[in-house]
C-alpha cells in the first residue's frame, strides 16, 4: 500500500481507545485487545485469543478523514488596494482505511448523500472519498451500545468496500476470509499471497456474523420514529433529557453522519494575508443558531430536540433515509450517559394523547 502512494490507517491504541492511526506493520494492530462500552463509558480490556480486530468502533470514524474537523478553504492576499483569492490546490491525501465496520460504511453512504449527491458537491469530501480504499472488517465483538441490527446497517458489511475481511479464530487456527467488493479490491488481493477459501472457512465466517448479531442486545424501533418525533415537539421528555444534557456537543462530534460546520476568518498582523477555515460545528453550541437579534435555540431542550429531530426525522424528508446508523458512539461518548434509544423509547411509551402537529410535508 505504501508503495502505491496510500497511507494506511487502521486500528491502533492511543488515548486509551482503539481508533484510526497509521499502520506500517501487523504489530501496530491492537492484538489481544477489546473494548467494553456502555452509556458514558469506554474501556479497553485484554482478551486472550490474540484477535487483531476483536473490538467495536472507537470514537473516530471515516468522517474524521473524509470530512476533516478543520480545513482551509482559501487564502486571500491583499495587494495595492484590492485582494485576490488563491485556491487551495493541494492534492487530497490518498488513504487506505483498514478495519472499517459495516455501520461506518453505512455512515459514509449517508455523508455521500449529503455532501456529494445533493445539489452541490463538496470538493473536499469528494476528493478524499474518491481517493480512499476501504478494507472492511466484519464485526465479531459488538459492544453494548451497538444497535446496527435495528438500523439494518450491520454487523456484516454488505457493500461499499474494496475488500472485506472476517477474522476467524477457532482453536489453534487464526484465518481471514476475504471478500472482494471492487476492481480495486481484486487488484489489491492479486498482489498478496492467498488461497481459495474452503467451505468450512466460509461457514465459520457466517458463524462469526451470526454470533455478533445475537450478542447485540440494544433495540431501537426505527419504524415510525420520523412521525413520532414530529408529533411530540412539546413532550415533557424533552425537559427531562435537557436536565441531564450538558450541551457539550460530544455526541455530534463522534457521530459519523453529523456534518455541520462553521467557518472562521482570520488575517495576519500586517493584514496582507487572510485565510478562511472550515471547522466542525455542533447544533448544541449556543452560537449555532445565532442571528442578529439573538440565538433561535437558547435552551438545552431546544438544542437536544433539534439534534434528535433532524437526525431521526427530518433527515428522512431531506435525504430519504435516517441520519442514524446505530453505531452507538453518541451513547458511549456522552459524559452524561444519555442514550438516544432510551429517549426515543420514552417518547414512544408516554406519547401524550393531546398531540402537537409536527412540521413539514
Amino acid at each position: 500500500m505504501d508503495q502505491r502512494g496510500y497511507e494506511v490507517l487502521g486500528p491502533t491504541i492511543h488515548d486509551s481507545a482503539i481508533s484510526y492511526g497509521p499502520i506500517h506493520a501487523i504489530e501496530d494492530l491492537p492484538e489481544g485487545w477489546t473494548s467494553e462500552q456502555g452509556p458514558g463509558s469506554y474501556r479497553l480490556k485484554r482478551r486472550t485469543d490474540g484477535a487483531l480486530f476483536g473490538y467495536a468502533t472507537g470514537p473516530k470514524s471515516l468522517k474524521n478523514f473524509l470530512h476533516p474537523s478543520e480545513i482551509k478553504l482559501f487564502t486571500a492576499e491583499r495587494t495595492n488596494g484590492t485582494f485576490r483569492i488563491l485556491s487551495n490546490d493541494g492534492l487530497a491525501p490518498r488513504r487506505a482505511f483498514l478495519g472499517v465496520r459495516a455501520c461506518e460504511l453505512a455512515a459514509a453512504g449517508v455523508q455521500d448523500r449529503v455532501l456529494i449527491e445533493d445539489r452541490f458537491k463538496d470538493p473536499i469530501y469528494s476528493q478524499r472519498r474518491a481517493g480512499s480504499i476501504v478494507i472492511a472488517v466484519n464485526c465479531s465483538d459488538p459492544s453494548s451500545v451497538c444497535f446496527c441490527t435495528s438500523m439494518g446497517t450491520g454487523p456484516r458489511a454488505k457493500a461499499g468496500y474494496d475488500l472485506a475481511l472476517t477474522e476467524v479464530i477457532d482453536g489453534g487456527t487464526h484465518e481471514f476470509l476475504v471478500e472482494v467488493g471492487s476492481e480495486t479490491g481484486a487488484d489489491l488481493l492479486a498482489g498478496t499471497e492467498y488461497s481459495e477459501a474452503s467451505e468450512e472457512l466460509r461457514r465459520k465466517s457466517d458463524e462469526v456474523t451470526a454470533r455478533a448479531e445475537r450478542s447485540i442486545q440494544r433495540q431501537f424501533e426505527n419504524a415510525g420514529v420520523a412521525e413520532l418525533l414530529k408529533e411530540n415537539f412539546d413532550h415533557p421528555r424533552w425537559d427531562d433529557v435537557a436536565s441531564r444534557c450538558l450541551a457539550c456537543g460530544n455526541c455530534t462530534m463522534v457521530c459519523p453522519t453529523c456534518f455541520c460546520v462553521t467557518v472562521e476568518d482570520m488575517s495576519d498582523v500586517t493584514g496582507d494575508h487572510a485565510e478562511r477555515w472550515r471547522k466542525w460545528d455542533s447544533c448544541f453550541a449556543l452560537g449555532f443558531s445565532y442571528i442578529h437579534y439573538g440565538s433561535v435555540r437558547l435552551s438545552t431542550k431546544s438544542r437536544y430536540r433539534q439534534w434528535l429531530t433532524h437526525k431521526l426525522s427530518y433527515w428522512h424528508d431531506q435525504f430519504g433515509e435516517s441520519g442514524c446508523v446505530g453505531c452507538g458512539r453518541c451513547i458511549a461518548w456522552c459524559p452524561a450517559g444519555i442514550d438516544l434509544t432510551e429517549e426515543v423509547a420514552a417518547l414512544r411509551a408516554a406519547a401524550p394523547a393531546e398531540k402537537t402537529n409536527g412540521g413539514g410535508e
Binding site: 484590492t82 485582494f83 485556491s87 460546520v261 462553521t262 460545528d281 442578529h292 433561535v296 409536527g358
Partner: protein, 290 residues
C-alpha cells in the same frame, strides 16, 4: 503487481468549488440610514454578473473579516449591477458598509428561491415589509413597475422603528405615484414632523382594501412581525398558500453543507429563503426555539 486505477477527482481544480468567492468591484455606495448602506457591485473586466431573480441572496465576503448572507436589493432588469442593502449588525456587515467606491468585496451566489413573480402575474400584490425587510422586496417592486400591465394592484406596507430608519425614502414617494400603486408607511416611534402612521405595520391592513382570493402577499421582516402579519391576514381570510415569507436563519455556506439553516425538512439556503406560509406553518406557530 497490478496497478490500481488512479482515483478520479484528486485534483481540486477538476471540481467547481462552491466555497470559492469571486471578486466584485464596488461601483457606487448610497447611504440609506445611519446604519444602513446600499452598495452596487460590478464584476471586474471580463467577468459577467450572474443573473438573479427577486428574493435571492449572495454570500458577501469582506476581506479578512468574514462572510454573511445579504439579499439582493437591486433591479433585476439591470444585469450589470448587483445591489446589496446592508445594515451594520456585526463585524462583517460593518466592514462591508465602510467600503468605498473602487474597493473590492468577494461574493458567492446568487443563491435561493424567488418571490412568486409568476404566481403573482395577473393578481394583486401585497408587500409587507419591516425594517431592512424592504430590501429583499425592492427587486419585486422594480420588476412589477417595469412590467406594470402584467400585474394588478400593488400595495406596499412598510414599517420601521422611526422615520429616520425608513429605507429608500425618495423611492417610496416615487412608487406611491406609480399607476395603481399604494404605499403606506408606519413607524413605531413618531417625530413631531412625522405625518404618517404610528404603530406596527400590520395595523396598516385596516387602511387598504384587498381581495384575499386575488392577492399574492409577500412578507419580509423580523419573525415577530411576520407572525402578527400572518394572523392579520388569516383574520381577513387570505389563503395560507398565497402568503409568501422570506425566512432568516444563521447561514455559513449557502449550499446546504453547514447545517446552520436547517429547519425541519428544509435548508433555508437551498429550499428558501422564500417559502409559502403553508410550508412554514409549524415554525410560525405556538412552538418556539425551533
Amino acid at each position: 503487481m497490478t496497478v490500481i486505477a488512479e482515483p478520479e477527482l484528486l485534483d481540486s481544480t477538476a471540481l467547481a468549488d462552491p466555497f470559492r468567492p469571486q471578486l466584485a468591484r464596488i461601483a457606487s455606495v448610497t447611504r440609506e440610514t445611519s446604519d444602513t448602506v446600499t452598495i452596487s457591485t460590478e464584476l471586474p473586466a471580463t467577468g459577467s454578473l450572474p443573473q438573479f431573480v427577486p428574493g435571492q441572496f449572495s454570500m458577501l465576503y469582506a476581506y479578512g473579516a468574514g462572510e454573511v448572507p445579504i439579499s439582493i436589493s437591486g433591479d433585476p432588469g439591470n444585469p450589470d449591477r448587483l445591489d446589496y442593502t446592508i445594515r451594520s449588525v456585526g463585524a462583517v456587515t460593518t466592514a462591508l458598509i465602510t467600503r468605498k467606491v473602487g474597493d473590492y468585496v468577494a461574493m458567492r451566489g446568487p443563491f435561493g428561491t424567488s418571490w412568486p413573480m409568476e404566481a403573482a402575474a395577473g393578481e394583486d400584490v401585497l408587500l409587507v415589509a419591516g425594517g431592512i425587510g424592504l430590501a429583499p422586496l425592492r427587486p419585486v417592486i422594480y420588476h412589477i413597475l417595469r412590467h406594470r400591465s402584467e400585474y394588478g394592484r400593488l400595495v406596499i406596507l412598510y414599517g420601521a422603528r422611526s422615520p429616520k430608519e425608513l429605507l429608500f425614502r425618495k423611492e417610496l414617494s416615487g412608487w406611491s405615484k406609480s399607476p395603481d400603486t399604494q404605499v403606506l408607511t408606519t413607524v413605531d416611534y413618531g417625530e413631531p414632523s412625522w405625518r404618517g402612521y404610528v404603530g406596527v405595520v400590520t395595523k396598516l391592513f385596516n387602511f387598504v382594501s384587498l381581495r384575499p382570493e386575488r392577492t399574492i402577499t409577500m412578507m419580509c421582516g423580523p419573525e415577530i412581525m411576520m407572525r402578527f402579519g400572518i394572523r392579520g391576514l388569516q383574520g381577513r381570510k387570505f389563503p395560507d398558500d398565497r402568503i409568501y415569507l422570506s425566512m432568516e436563519r444563521n447561514m455559513k455556506c449557502a449550499v446546504g453543507f453547514c447545517g446552520h439553516c436547517q429547519m425541519g425538512p428544509y435548508f433555508i439556503c437551498k429550499d428558501g429563503p422564500v417559502f409559502t406560509y403553508g410550508q412554514m406553518r409549524h415554525w410560525m406557530g405556538d412552538l418556539r426555539e425551533l
